[in-house]
Amino acid sequence: MRAEARFFKSLSDETRLKILWLLSGTEELCVCDVISVLGITQSKASRHLRHLYHLGWVTDRRDGLWMIYRLAVTPNSPKEKLLNLLEEILAPQPEAQALRGHLARCLEAKQHSQCARRLKSSQKRSPQGSPET
């Protein structure tokens, strides 16, 4: 029953819980989105996302320098049921709704101004790549 304990452990950390909450409200998220919405360091965001990745909660996709994550939960699996439960518990909470609102504003601002991701990929495409130092 260690696997089941580990399963519940995925949500036993406030940061991971918030990350899953954000992911279940949107199609995919860049590490940079998680960093700005939760106000945490890149190292902390990546560490928790890798944790979720290794437990099979999310899949990843590289886009330039950043990793993009999305939920990878099969319908009717225990994971999906746990996410549904999380949704049910968090949906009435102002704090959780505020977090999703924050994410929506963040994503919108990114689209209107310089998207961090596009900025990175255009830098990558430019002929003068930064020298390796």
Partner: protein, 123 residues
């Protein structure tokens, strides 16, 4: 959202998960039953049960030197929903069924050795 994380943390430990699973199958259990079935020390069993007690999963009742615990989860509460999900996941696991069987055997043996709950002198 710290509270919710803590709620899920209750089930994030294998021993606590097993305890809740055993408690779900019975009305009340003595610390000595948990020790006997899970093969843990009294200190470990009591520590985890106190943890569950302080988070409101169980209530306690003293009987002589032993403490008895029972689930105290309000119907429809987040805790109740978590337990239902846990039961759903575990009911198909042979390991979980074996644990419940061991509990039944343990309780039957206890009932034969002395009468009723007074048989908790199982050191």
């Amino acid at each position: 959202m710290k509270k919710e994380a803590q709620l899920f943390k209750s089930l994030a430990d294998e021993t606590r998960l097993k305890m809740l699973w055993l408690l779900m199958g019975r009305e009340e259990l003595c610390v000595c039953d948990i020790m006997g079935v899970l093969g843990t020390t009294q200190s470990k069993a009591s520590r985890h049960l106190r943890y569950l007690y302080h988070l409101g999963w169980v209530t306690d009742r003293r009987e002589g030197v032993w403490m008895n615990y029972r689930l105290s989860v309000a119907p429809g509460s987040p805790e109740d929903k978590q337990l239902k999900l846990l039961a759903e996941i575990l009911s198909s696991r042979p390991e979980a069924q074996a644990l419940r069987d061991r509990l039944e055997q343990w309780l039957a043996a206890k009932g034969q050795s002395k009468d009723g709950a007074a048989a908790c002198q199982c050191s």
